[in-house]
Amino acid sequence: MTQGLWPALLGRFDWQALPFVRAWETPTVSEIIGAGAASIVIVGAIGLMALLTYLHAWRYLWKEWLTSLDHKRIGIMYVVLAFVMLSRALVEAVLMRMQQASAIDAPGFVEPDHFAQLFSTHGSIMIFFMAMPFLTGVINYVTPLQIGARDVAFPLLNSISLWLTGGAAGLMMVSLVIGRFSTGGWSGYPPYTELAFSPDVGPDYWIWAVTLGSVASTLTGLNFATTIYKMRCPGMTLMRMPLFVWTALCTSILMIFAMPPLTVATALLALDRYLGAHFFTNDLGGNMMMYANLFWLFGHPEVYILILPAFGVYSEVVSTFSSKELYGYTSLVLATMAIAVLSFTVWVHHFFTMGQNANLNAVFGIATMTIGVPTGVKIYDWIWTMFRGEVRFTVPMLYSLAFMMTFVLGGFTGILLAFPPLDYLVHNTLFLVAHFHNMLIPGTLYGMLAAYHYWFPKAFGFRLNERWGRISFGCWVVGFYTAFMPLYVLGASGAARRTQAFYEPAFRPWLYVAGVGALILLGALASLFVQLWISIRDRDANRVFAGDPWDGRGLEWSVSAPPPEFNYAVLPQVAARDPFFDGKRAGDPYAAPATYEDIEVPRNSMTGPVIGIVGAALAFALVWHIWWLAILCALGIVAAVIARSFARDVHRTVTAAEVARIDRHWRAAVAEAKPIPRHIETTSANRGLAEVPA
């Protein structure tokens, strides 16, 4: 079989690569779980296709969504992707905790190799295909609206970014069905991921999925930095931008500078694996410390790429639901920029234990603690924003409060880890796992969920169910503490992370509690889906077409919900920091414009989907060494780019008459809506028009 047609056609694929075949030959629980997961992917994909065909939705989906260059639709698709991937990665987390709870001096039900794939996919997905798409989606949706723009600077590039991310996520899904994933964790440290130790396809799946994702994020960074610099409406000076825009800007800049080191690291690793280079191998001059430096040169700023947008969301949410101006705006901007810059100066704290000298470790330890100052300032700024306000405990506000209390505990353990002598004790243990979940769950996930609840009515025109929102919130918070506090104890007791079995009966109670916590977190996710279902069912009772359900402050609340394709019938003029909020109090923010003009919007394009899908196929071909397909796909991408460059007619005009019709329809609805006071904003009385207290 090594010669001939088969390898030429299918590379190194053989039937053993299919989990069904493996489960048939050795029907262990572990293999059956693998085959089950693969079946879910296949049945899910087939079921989805069948449903779309049944509903005759293909055409609609393709024309209105998949090829759309509208930043709002792209944003929503990113968030949908994030929820799908969140579901998979959370189920994997539960599997791991169940395995560990059942494997105390016992083998458990997930085999070591399968377990290693679980933690590798869990980490890779949560970072690259859950958190990144989620925040990119929110930035996509919100930023242009907040700066009074009609779209982003490069709408086509935006679609390409989305589709590269989607293609990479698809590759992660394919790895469940064909072959296996890496066992090298989300950081993919060589030499373990080199051919000598991992000759299978796993690390290649990891390399190409991460590479596609990081290229997409670099492009997103470029796109949004340009958008924020160049596309602000008249009067929107830098120091009048909503804080979310500031964090989106800093995150974009971090993406531009932090993603390339990752791309270089994965590319060099690919050169090692594909062309026999020796950048990170044990022999012939390779040195994996170079990889560690490159990876964490990305990896540390990455945590701030993940956390900064959430900080922006909290700033918006706390201010809106306290009915108050943000306290210390300048302070918050400075703190955000300080964090962005400092985040590049601390990467060595990820390998204090590699044996460099004490001076170096101490410098990087102190630099790490320094970030605590601007972060602490931010938290106090939010507290002073609530101070002398009128705080409403809506779901996004609850997430913000839970974040402040929980994040500060994560900061506490982060300072402990910043001390090299203490890092020696708990590095690579469950203490570390507890710490970064303690930062990322409140610092990213809660932030994105707050954003989801806060801007959902804007995006879809109806509010999410409040009761199920609270249930889900309760589960996230209780589940977080039950699942991760035990890990601090276990880590301080020397329990290594990524361990498939334990040999210490003393760990048992803590592992049980953590397992229960994981189940509660699963319940939290389930309640989010229940909430979505119920909210869609009851959508007519909760419509907020007038567009301002929370007595909002920024420009995004000054248009209908959902906003028209072109965002603003007439581009706004801004004279202060909270233009819409102040406008409502100073006069009539709903005064109709005198005239309307034609508006150009980008035409749909299939370039994005083509590049994303062909890019994923290229990656797949490289994973399996199917060279003919790889060459074909590479040519296909070049051809798609060339073909697009011939397209001249890339805009579509919405005529002034059409704009006027859409705008007048909305203004009529606003005129009809009854303004509601804040204490009943979570009831059906809320039609999206806020009462302005005298």
């Binding site: 373990y192 044990n282 106090y380 409403r392 007791s493 079995a501």
Partner: protein, 274 residues
């Protein structure tokens, strides 16, 4: 579920395996540092943990007695309060960090009247090989040390990167192929302490644990003599077996080990490096 009920009692058993139950000067120093930093951090986290719920609840919409000033957004004195004390705390912690990072540097020899016991550790899949160059013996998955005498470990890896962790004695350091790293530790009382590899390295990772057995100097000398007399040398065949990827069911001791084994493992990848 009974385990859950017993948590308050049984929970502490886990901590006994860690630095809380330290058994040597390095880990004792680390624990001491833990307590100092933890105490300082209470003053950092405490105000936030108190203020967030108090402020949010007091200024809730339904409370009509609380002041409302929607335009209030800045105060220099508050600004001073939230920038200056945290900066001061970080400077203080920075000085502490600098001092302790040097004091507890794993490369720093432990001050003692006795010369340290030299040990060479080689990380293998999935086991640790410990060579005692002065005693010319070797062990696998068991580290034997005398109480009260510093131990100086030089580490390298014969395979992928691993991390040697002994929570009750000294924490951890990475072992990497073609490079050496060092760890200094000392046991202040006799006992059996757990050691492990903390960096994932494949299939047998979870089984890569070993006992650190600290004995009185006399008992240690007896143990060395017994191993040397056991006529079970680490010859070429035994070395090949040990270096193969596998999990060993029991710890092994070798009566004689080649003096240059550590250097040879190191050179395997280093020769080509030069």
């Amino acid at each position: 579920m009974t385990a859950l009920a017993l948590l308050p009692l049984g929970g502490c058993a886990a901590l006994k395996l860690g630095v809380v139950n330290h058994a040597g000067p390095v880990a004792a120093g680390q624990w001491h540092l833990y307590l100092i930093v933890g105490a300082v951090l209470v003053f950092v986290a405490g105000p936030v943990l108190l203020l967030v719920p108090i402020v949010a609840w007091h200024y809730r919409l339904a409370n009509k007695d609380s002041a409302f000033s929607p335009k209030w957004n800045f105060s220099w004195s508050l600004e001073g309060l939230i920038w200056i004390p945290p900066t001061g705390i970080v400077i203080g912690l920075g000085i502490l960090l600098w001092h302790y990072t040097h004091r507890l540097d794993p490369y720093r020899p432990i001050a003692s009247a006795q010369a340290p016991l030299e040990v060479q550790a080689v990380a293998l899949d999935w086991k640790w090989l410990f060579l005692y160059p002065d005693q010319h013996i070797a062990t696998v998955n068991e580290l034997d040390i005398p109480v009260g005498r510093p131990v100086h470990i030089r580490l390298t890896s014969g395979t992928v990167m691993q991390s040697l962790l002994i929570p009750q004695l000294a924490g951890q350091i990475y072992a990497m192929a073609g490079m050496t790293s060092q760890l200094n530790l000392e046991a202040s009382r006799a006992g059996v302490f757990r050691g492990e590899n903390a960096q994932f390295n494949g299939q047998g990772f979870q089984a890569e644990k070993f006992d650190v057995i600290a004995r009185t100097p006399a008992a240690f000398a007896t143990w060395v003599g017994r191993v040397q007399a056991s006529n079970h040398p680490l010859d070429a065949a035994a070395t090949a077996t040990i270096f193969r990827r596998s999990v060993l069911p029991h710890p092994v001791a070798f009566s004689a080990a080649p003096d240059d084994l550590f250097r040879r493992v190191l050179a395997r990848s280093q020769e080509s490096r030069r």
